[in-house]
Amino acid sequence: MNLGFKSKAKAFFVDTNSPPSLLEGPINVILSPSMYWVKRVKLPVKYLYEVKSLIPSLFEDFLPEGKYSYHAYKEDDSYLIFAYNDKEILDLIASKGISSAQLENIYLAQSEFATITAPIKVSSEDILSVEEGVVVKLPTLLAPDAVTMDLIDHQFSKQNLHLTRINQIADKKAQITFGVILVTMILLFGVEWIITSSKVSTVLQKQGKIFETYSLAATSFQNEAIQAKLNNIFIRQSRIRDIFNQALSIKLPKGMFMQEVVLEKNKVVIVIATPSKEAGDKALSKLKKSFKQIKTRFDNGTYIMEVAL
């Protein structure tokens, strides 16, 4: 494909009689007239694509049996139409030692040498000459003084054949197999995608049912807040019971007795009558070990312990 920038590819003329290529790096191949069929036609059409659609019928009964590709371009007030066999061309190019990696573009002798004013020698046996506007291959005998072809500074036209690399490396069957594999993979992954999406919908429906069944609030944030609130109630009530149970299970020494047990907003207060602070500490030491955040004080025969909730 010619993208408009200057290519570094070297030119090489390919004919059945041409010698093998000794070139390295990218190569632009110029096809000998013997590798394609050409016709100059005048047609009452405006656009090139209209011409291209007509080419097969214009070559009908003219070409030998085979599979052909077509090309056309406009020159002056007429169209030049071409027919060529991809496989034959690629086989010939390959036989000349040009690998598909080297091959950059393929040009036609017609488009490259249409402007020559004198015959040019392409091999010891053949020359190229322009006859009635068409480039043809002729025997050297017809122009023994023809100058040898020089492609070093050859300026290529824009009329390269669109033989893509995929055409070169894979035949039609391989392309179809490749396409079928890709399509199969697309279908398999597509089906899996649809199944997975439907599973997602099912899971979301189940989630909706849970909200309904358990009469949950509309959002997760609200539910988390409700859960936290209920958990706090549970923790507080459990702690109240733990403190109270332990306080009542304490056996006080003789002369000491429990005066009062009070549950306030954030604490449980246990009041015992005791002769000294030390005696009170000792009597309620079990509570001190079990619960943190405990405050104690002794006041006039009364020992007061506050356990934070």
């Binding site: 694509y49 291209k52 659609s53 590709s69 669109h162 893509t164 690399r165 995929i166 055409n167 392309q175 490749f178 396409g179 890709l182 399509v183 993979m185 697309i186 992954f189 597509g190 899996e192 995608w193 997975t196 999406s197 599973k199 997602v200 899971v203 979301l204 189940k206 989630q207 849970i210 909200f211 069944t213 358990y214 949950l216 997760s220 539910n223 988390e224 409700i226 859960q227 209920l230 958990n231 109630i233 549970f234 009530q237 109240i240 019971r241 109270f244 149970n245 007795f257 429990m258 005066q259 009062e260 047990v261 009070v262 549950l263 306030e264 907003k265």
Partner: protein, 134 residues
Amino acid sequence: MKINPLYIALLLFALLATVIYQLSISKEQLRESKVTLHETEMMAQEIQALRRSWDQPKGSKTALLRLLNASQLKPANIQKSVKRSIIVLSSKKADLKTTNYFFVKLFNGAFRLKKFNVKRLDKEHVSFSVEVAL
């Protein structure tokens, strides 16, 4: 018009990439939604259990009234007053056996105790006041 097979291959690759990408998104969605479903179910069950225990105003009130009707509590002459969502139970003088029975029942039930005060009157008697949230 002849379409270059390379374009078709590129189109198929693009389609394949799109389908694989969408599939990976769907799989991630499925994984996340399964995790969320499990978490929601766990949370719902916990909320339900907690509600049954701690957020049943009618149930609490009924259970308390049933407790007050117990013959074992008659000697304590427990007074009841209801203020909005709080019920206050109090006794000016109750023997230790009755008091013990009352508090064991109260603590073993899922009642939300807001405040209480148990005060010794003499060796055998106490007075008490309990606030239970409904």
